[in-house]
């Protein structure tokens, strides 16, 4: 019974990600690549994404603090973040990245700073939502000892 309840909880959490548009169909595509040989594949992908994206976000936030900002360099970082966020289905993060890039293209420094702050907010929100989800999934997918 308890196991059924936990699985319902996992399913509800997952559905909420789509309902709140935190994730899009590319997350489902990732799930389709998961199999018995690699049951934690999606979590591993997101571990990789969070690790690399944290570094990129920190780099771009640091760049905003310097006096002379290389817009081209910043756009390169945002471009990379865009690609990886799109690939894992991180919809809200992707939306903020796209908005920030548009503002950056116009040379609007203050707008870019605000955009990066929004990106960070959505990114942290995504992490906060997915980490407990993966923990719950992993804790309840351990095969029973026979």
């Amino acid at each position: 019974m308890e196991s059924k309840h936990v699985h319902q909880q996992i399913a509800a959490m997952r559905q909420s990600f789509f309902d709140e548009e935190v994730l899009d169909e590319f997350f489902s595509q990732l799930e389709q690549l998961e199999d018995q040989n690699n049951p934690n594949f999606v979590e591993e992908v997101f571990t990789m994404y969070f690790r690399d994206s944290t570094t990129l976000l920190e780099t771009v936030e640091q760049a905003m603090k310097t006096i002379s900002i290389t817009f081209a360099k910043m756009d390169k970082i945002l471009h990379q973040l865009k690609g990886s966020s799109a690939s894992v289905g991180a919809k809200k993060v992707l939306n903020e990245i796209n908005k920030t890039r548009q503002v950056l293209e116009k040379g609007n420094l203050e707008g870019t700073k605000a955009g990066i702050w929004e990106m960070r907010k959505e990114y942290e929100s995504l992490k906060a939502k997915l980490e407990p989800y993966f923990q719950l999934k992993q804790a309840n997918s351990v095969p029973q000892e026979k």
Binding site: K4, H7, A11, L23, Q32, M48, Q80, G83, S87
Partner: protein, 156 residues
């Protein structure tokens, strides 16, 4: 709309989750059965994207290799390694994707090249096609774009 997990009364939720996942996986895998062993090179500076693209290809039993910059991609091709398919990003470390593509084509390599990039502007698209990619795809790479190309390469 993303698929929802069924919550049937008869089957357990675990059964439904497993069956739903299996059904989705079958749907993905039965899109194509390759007759020939195809090979692909994935050139992407971003680890997440490169790993995902390689895994997607491998799910169709395409043998893949990955490099994270344009210079290594050119060097690998120059060494004589042949691929049926090259998937390359536009913005790459060391040597960018446009230049890497030009150099690969200048070597006389005629294999299918897909420019898979986060760039979405028309000018970027034209530039990448002019450099020598056959198809321009905005990230992420998905089965909808990939499967027809694999079928074509497989002679189906």
């Amino acid at each position: 709309m993303a698929p929802t997990l069924p919550s049937g009364d008869q089957a357990s939720d675990q059964d439904n989750w497993d069956n739903g996942r299996l059904a989705r996986k079958r749907q993905l895998l039965t899109e194509i059965v390759l007759r020939n062993r195809l090979t692909a090179l994935v050139v992407d500076g971003d680890t997440t994207c490169r790993v995902l693209e390689q895994l997607l290809l491998r799910s169709y039993e395409v043998q893949t290799q990955g490099v994270d910059n344009g210079r290594d991609a050119v060097a690998l091709i120059a060494s004589g390694v042949k691929f049926n398919l090259i998937i390359i990003d536009m913005i790459l470390p060391v040597l960018n994707g446009l230049e890497a593509t030009r150099q690969i084509r200048d070597m006389g390599v005629h294999c299918k090249m897909l420019g898979v990039t986060a760039c979405s502007g028309e000018s970027e698209r034209q530039a990448f096609l002019a450099a020598g990619v056959d198809v321009f795809i905005e990230k992420p790479l998905d089965p909808e774009h990939l499967v027809p190309i694999l079928r074509e390469l497989d002679g189906q």
